[in-house]
Symmetry: C2
Subunit: 191 residues, 2 copies
């Protein structure tokens, strides 16, 4: 069975988006800095990590807000696999080019069940946003955390690791790769 | 001339201490987790980083609160070099075993001038706490940031990178070392 993997690019001060996320500014103000490595990087390491993430992902979970601000940009599901959207408003399944969006109104656990079934043995990727990631993390539903640490202090925005409660969540680093632009860290959540 | 180096151990969620820092709890509630690597690590990498930090440091700057909660614990200056304490209350120079504490009431810039002179070509270490680090960072007074990234989500405490304003501070990773327990990252602040 695949893993439940949280993957995000974060600044050194822990932001996964700038302030003021909106349709016209899906990464928030200045937040596109966090994804520069994806577009301007010419590193084999960066390419390998991006490729591996794509190859290993069998289904994706996103929050409603990420769907709202992302769908026009992607013009498809974010990865070419089924994508489950956590939301409070029921909505019809939305087929796209490569796969479909399914809207799940009965919580993170159930979204995960459906995503796991759809992933058929591959990993389920928790893609964001931060609030969605936090729900899965604090519920103990994440197996692996993969971050691309971007060497910038943004000073403001949406923090990935926030509102987690005060229990310590221990992790174990399972991979460390570096390109010029980012540091790729992968952790297993100790359970 | 030496560098101005900020060095801290931080959790994956960016805390450099737990909540409720006090004399009887200098790292805050649960915050001692961040220094475990210093005491229980048997890694040559960890030892090398700790040794290098000590060898390269010619003077130390700490905030008043760090002095207050640390001095009984250290029973000396935190490193065997002059230590400058940023404070609002004038106080006599306090000689310890290896060196002295000097209390500086006229701001971060002036504390740095004195520390630089005392360091005689070696580095000045900004040792903490977070608030002091933030003052130096946002004033553009830090040359290098060295962190020991501890694979734990604390969920609460004092964030190292906070209250920095919204200008982006760009860095460049200059070193990456890994032990079982922590990931050692070193950055140069781009100016």
């Amino acid at each position: 069975m695949g893993s439940i993997v949280l993957n995000m690019s974060v600044s050194l001060d822990g932001y996964s988006a700038g302030p003021g996320v909106a349709v016209e500014r899906p990464m928030g103000e200045g937040g596109e800095r966090l994804h520069e490595w994806l577009f301007t990087g010419d590193s084999e390491v960066d390419a390998q990590v991006a490729r591996e993430l794509s190859d290993s992902t069998g289904a994706v979970v996103v929050g409603r807000r990420t769907f709202d601000v992302g769908v026009d940009l992607w013009q498809d599901t974010p990865f070419p696999v089924p994508c489950f959207v956590l939301t409070h408003e029921p909505r019809e399944r939305l087929p796209m080019k490569s796969a479909a969006f399914t809207f799940v109104t009965d919580g993170a656990g159930w979204a995960l069940e459906q995503a796991r079934a759809a992933a058929a043995g591959k990993n389920v990727l928790i893609m964001g946003g931060a609030h969605t990631a936090q729900q899965f993390l604090s519920a103990g539903l994440v197996d692996e955390v993969q971050i691309q640490l971007v060497p910038v202090l943004l000073g403001a925005g949406v923090r990935l690791f926030d509102r987690l409660g005060t229990q310590h969540i221990e992790l174990e680093r399972t991979r460390l790769l570096a390109s010029e632009q980012v540091t790729h860290l992968r952790f297993r959540v100790r359970k």
